[in-house]
Symmetry: C2
Subunit: 407 residues, 2 copies
Amino acid sequence: MTLTLLAAEGGVDVARFFLVLATMLVGAKLLGELAERIGQPAVLGELVAGVLLGGSALAVVPTEGTAAELVHVFAELGVLLLLFEIGLETDLRQMFRVGPAALAVACVGVALPFALGYAYWALAPHPAVAGADLTTAGIFIGATLTATSVGITARVLSDLGRMNTPEARIIIGAAVIDDVLGLVILSVVSGLAAGAAVTFLGVLRTLGVAVGFLVVAVLIGRFAVPRLFDVIVRMRVRYVLLVFSIAFALGLASLASLAGSALIIGAFAAGLILSGTNQFDTIEHEVRPVASIFAPIFFVSVGASVNLSLLNPTTPAARATLLVAAALTGIAIVSKLAAGWAAPWMPFRKLVVGVGMVPRGEVGLIFADIGRRSGVLPEEVFGAVLLMVMATTFVAPPALKALFARE
Amino acid sequence: MTLTLLAAEGGVDVARFFLVLATMLVGAKLLGELAERIGQPAVLGELVAGVLLGGSALAVVPTEGTAAELVHVFAELGVLLLLFEIGLETDLRQMFRVGPAALAVACVGVALPFALGYAYWALAPHPAVAGADLTTAGIFIGATLTATSVGITARVLSDLGRMNTPEARIIIGAAVIDDVLGLVILSVVSGLAAGAAVTFLGVLRTLGVAVGFLVVAVLIGRFAVPRLFDVIVRMRVRYVLLVFSIAFALGLASLASLAGSALIIGAFAAGLILSGTNQFDTIEHEVRPVASIFAPIFFVSVGASVNLSLLNPTTPAARATLLVAAALTGIAIVSKLAAGWAAPWMPFRKLVVGVGMVPRGEVGLIFADIGRRSGVLPEEVFGAVLLMVMATTFVAPPALKALFARE
């Protein structure tokens, strides 16, 4: 009744929206489970659930109006909490300790795919896409190829019981550095999408703001926030640590955005900062379930934006998308495999590290989503990037399993 | 940057909205803490935080546009999760066991305040409020006076270490039955607000739908859902129980609303149903932190809708509001005290039970909020109801403390 009321007032139909949310959550978990059962990461299932619930299939996820904006806000909250959780799980000291090898693998693993992706788009022959600015689109394509998914990689290694091998340590270390580099690239790329011209100085300035925000926030935060939380923990109201942590992530994300960086950089910084508090274990333990409710909404809504008809191989346009997807997947795999050989001075199995770096995930999808929303990446190319992310994520787990089994 | 982008597209300013959410959360916890430190329940502090952040003071909480609708959806999610949690914590069997005494206290404790509230509004002299339909407004006023706050009462009794007294068992039992009766009244009242005429048959039909939905959902649910959750618990994806529980609450709430009952009745039923699953402990343990993030958003946004200028005693309008508030508070206290004597055949301290039933809370605020949104309760009366809720909640804890200390 409350609802009929609100709908009559011209407001949102809250009941219908909550039903959409419930369907997205159930779909994400069911297909996530199916993915795990066939030996794939759950995030793949969530993407597929989104494709099925999206506008070109069941049309459960709204695509326009206030309802679509609401889904968007919940999805943003999801990706914010996910990056906050990744930040929480990132051990700054361990990141510094894995040292030169991880850094070398990370740098090559970011630079090479970016360069190859950009070159493919700007120079190599590929099916023309109407209305795409070649340079900006090329930078976006390159960016989507850079970031290895820490979440997926770590999950696969722990599922295989190989977390304590030198290869695993290098993979995780590189993937984390990779994520930070990816977040910096995100700022540049968001600036581009907002219409900033691609000048060297402009890129440098955006880079400066992103790195500067991260460094300043983390430096001040690691000093001041643990003291603040030592006071907060003495409060008596229930779940005070959890609520203050979430508020801190929301607040720092907003500040990052208002300072000209990106929401998720702020959320990641909030996680890094809180990982230095004495109450870290409680915070991580309580934030994780909350993140696990909202993060799937992001992945489902990303999947929902795929136009299935673009992937129907009987139409020429779809064949073009599939060709681009194949080319991008090839670049994505080859360039990350090569990164395995970036630290020749250290003894470890280069191929294992290379394969471990292959899965792309959240950050790549965020890039692609920003590109699609701002119109820099046409729908066809967005579909191709999504296929690339899914393909790399499908390929790595069985390959790693086989490589470790050969020992 | 993502944000500038979205704002430029005419969408919601997500960064600014997240900053508002963060401020509401921090404000709620800080003033909630302050309330606890001076011996009052935290919910009082959250209401005061809302008044301070609201339009007539700091104006942090948006009052119009898409931002206000977003706050509203998050507040609805908060009250939905709160009622879901209350449902989870309600032991159906214990409710039947406390038996006739609790039932008698609950019935008198609902009927008497409702009748007195209605009579005061419809018959007794009180400052006139322009544009109020006397009968409908009277029913609303009566309804806001009915439901004892289980949350506050249980919290106070456990803080005093008196949960195992016969008085405490009767208070809790009656408050729970009270809450169910209150939810049924809510359906009637929501129907009225939506413009249904006040006919005896209409009230009976609305009552039938509300009770029918609750009974059918709980009967089917208690049979089928535990079997379903025994399957779900075997899934491997992370936090599958939590996510399915939340999705179940969202889904059943939507169904209740679409069936012509209220969102929160569905959420409460979802809680009652899940309290019969074998995974109940895990579910309750994981739902509680999530509810504790969103529930304060509801209380803060309720507080934010108070127009402070209405409470300034130097203006005649404000004096009228204060007079109404004083009258309502008197009725609220006297009628619940009388309910303590509703079971004369049982030996217990009637005054303790009566005082324990005095605090009004969530459900009364929900009634008042629906009345305000639909225009049935003018702003002045809404302010008076809010003052009544706050006064009853302030009065009971110290009185109970004193009564128990006299033993």
